[in-house]
Each structure stands twice: as C-alpha cells, then as structure tokens.
C-alpha cells in the first residue's frame, strides 16, 4: 500500500453540496469520493493505492484532470487497486459529472 497526496491547480469554485462516490475498490478499478473543501483555485487529491511506485504517473493523470475540469475547491479521495491511468481518468470524469449533475 502507498499513500500519495497531491494538490493540483484547477479553475472554478464548486458550490458546497453533497459528496459523490463513483467506482468500486476492486482489482483494476478504483473508487473516487468527491467532497467540497479547500482553497477555491486548487483541488486536493488523496490517493491510497495498492500498487507501489507509480507516483509520477498519478501526478500526470491528476494534473491533466485539473486542467480539464472545474475542480477548484474540491477534495478528492481515491482507493485504488491497480487501475490503469485510463480507468482513473474515466472515474474522475464520472465523479465530476455526477457532482455537476447533482447541482440541479
């Protein structure tokens, strides 16, 4: 197990609302919990992963995520069991989509 903590720059301040969970802690998959909290221009991401030594890849995936989404002011926590970068990106997209959906 490895714990990685990141803070990426992200635009847009999300409004405070109910937390969202997508995905599941299962082999090749990950679960992503999104909550409001933190500085409005930054997104804090806390990763618990079963796969050791993938820090640089997480960094790249998460930086890309911050550029693509208005995730400022969000706190994200991930439980990962060896999901590929593509799966992680997909889950993050789904999580943000659910977050924005629920805004209605």
């Amino acid at each position: 197990m490895e714990r990685l903590q990141y803070e990426v720059e992200a635009r847009g301040a999300a409004t405070a609302r109910k937390p969202v969970l997508v995905g599941v802690t299962a082999s090749g998959n990950c679960e992503v919990l999104v909550e409001a909290g933190g500085a409005p221009e930054r997104c804090a991401i806390d990763v618990h992963t079963a796969a050791q030594g993938f820090g640089p890849i997480w960094q790249a995936v998460l930086r890309d995520f911050g550029e693509r989404h208005a995730a400022g002011g969000l706190k994200i926590e991930i439980h990962d069991v060896g999901a590929t970068p593509a799966v992680v990106s997909l889950r993050l997209d789904q999580a943000l989509e659910a977050w924005e959906d629920d805004d209605a």
Binding site: M1, P19, L21, V24, T25, A26, N29, E31, L33, E35, H48, T49, A50, E77, H79, D80, V81
Partner: protein, 295 residues
Amino acid sequence: MRKRFFEASARERVHGVVDTDSFHEFLPPEARVSSPHMVMLEQPAAFDDGIVVGAATLDGRPVLVAAQEGAFLGGAIGEVHGAKLVGLIERARAERPAAVVILFDSGGVRLHEANAGLIAVSEIIRAVLGARAEGLRFIGLIGGAGGCFGGTGLIARCCDALVMSEEGRLAMSGPEVIETVRGVEEFDSRDRALVWRVTGGKHRYLLGEADAFVEDDIEAFRAAAIHLLDTPAEFSLESVEREHARLAERWQRFGSSTDAPEIWQALGVPADADVAMMNADEFVAMAAHCPGRNA
C-alpha cells in the same frame, strides 16, 4: 428501459428498487467508516466497507434497506460491514418499517477478518430471527454477480421471502470450494450450466427456496419487493414445523439425486420443457402448473 440488476452497483440497485429520490443513507461513504483490519493487512479499503444501508420508501411505505457491493471483496462480511447490518436491524426493531429489504451480493465471511466476519454473520442471523419473532418482515433480493453464498446464504434463508433472477445464485459452499476439496468429479465449477442448475434462481424457485422469480431487471425486482410487502409472513412454531415437513420430504424424495432436471421432472416440469430458454413470464407460468413445487 430495462436496467440490469446483475451489472449494477449496490447504490444503483438501491436507488432503482426504492421510490425515486427517497433513499437516505446511514454512515455514507464520506463518514469513512471502513474496515480497520484491511489496512492492517495492507489491503485497500472501501469507504462504506462494501455495504450501503439506509431508509427509504417503497411504494410509499417506509422501509429500511441494505445492499452489499459484490465487487468489493466479493461482498464479504467483515466487522464493520456486519455491524452496519446489525445496526440497521436494531433500528428496524425500534422504527417498525413495513419491511427490511436486503439486496444480497456476497460470498459470505470475509477471510481477511474471518473471526469478526463469522461472529458478525451469527449476530445478523440472530438479529433477523429475533426481529421476525417481533413481527418485522424481511425481504431478500438475489441477482448480483457475486451470488449469495456461505454465511450470507444462511442469512438470506432466514428472511421471510426471497426474490431471485435466473442469474442469481444461492447456496452454502461455492462450486469452487467444493471442487477444491472434493475434486472436479464432485463439482466442476467451470461447467457453467451445471453451476446454474444447482445454484441458480430457476432451480431455487422450483425447489421452493425462492418465493418470486423475476427477469434480470431492477424494475422487476422492485415490483416483486412491493408485492411481497403484503403477502402473509409468519414466524412461529407452527410455521417452522411446516417448513420442517417440507424439508424432510425433499430430503426423502431427492436425497439421492445428483442433478437438477430429475428433481424438476419429479416436481412436475414437463420432460420436454427447455427450462433454461424460458423467459421469466414463461417460466413462472410453467412453474405454476407444477404440482410438486412446494413454495
């Protein structure tokens, strides 16, 4: 549009089964009440420890609901997972909802915390039966990818009524366990048709182990659960004596059977019936004409 129960997550199932927007979760993921033991074994945890519990309405009536997430460690029961169910049942004893609805998807005791899981299963069984003795109703739904095995298979059969789909599987030991211990001749776990005949929803329904049979569709599970809110439910010396007579008769008649079709035909399924190919409506209609189906 049909939404498959089999493939859905625990939360998707709960939201689809209960009335729209009526679900309120207790100890939701953001409460981060997960297993302390998985962390100790350096295994990834789940925010909700693989089970969703909460309150909702079903056809306008108050229910308490639990749904196991079969994708997380096979939905297996550990200390926290089990305690969430026990807590929900205790809550039901105080609140007296129309029913406690449990969406089973679990292989049984979580081996990573085996002692805690085994004790928890026995506590859930005692809680379910204790609550039933006080008149509470328990409805189980089985149709997830993980099936319903081991201790979870026992909990399920302590409910008042079970709803199963063809894809749902219900048994004590999984075929893999039996094959590992007794050999492939005893139970070939890769023979999918055999596994389906022995543990699947159609066999369990014909045998009288399941009370309703539905298509693999969340809406169909919902309709069956609503129907079961008002069917007779009894837990008394007389009801267990009746069940005893049924089980004794089954053992007497089929104790030397080795496969399901011979049992089906003895129960009245026509010899030329292609049970595997029937859709839910055809199958239920056929079963209704089986004199031996002791449901």
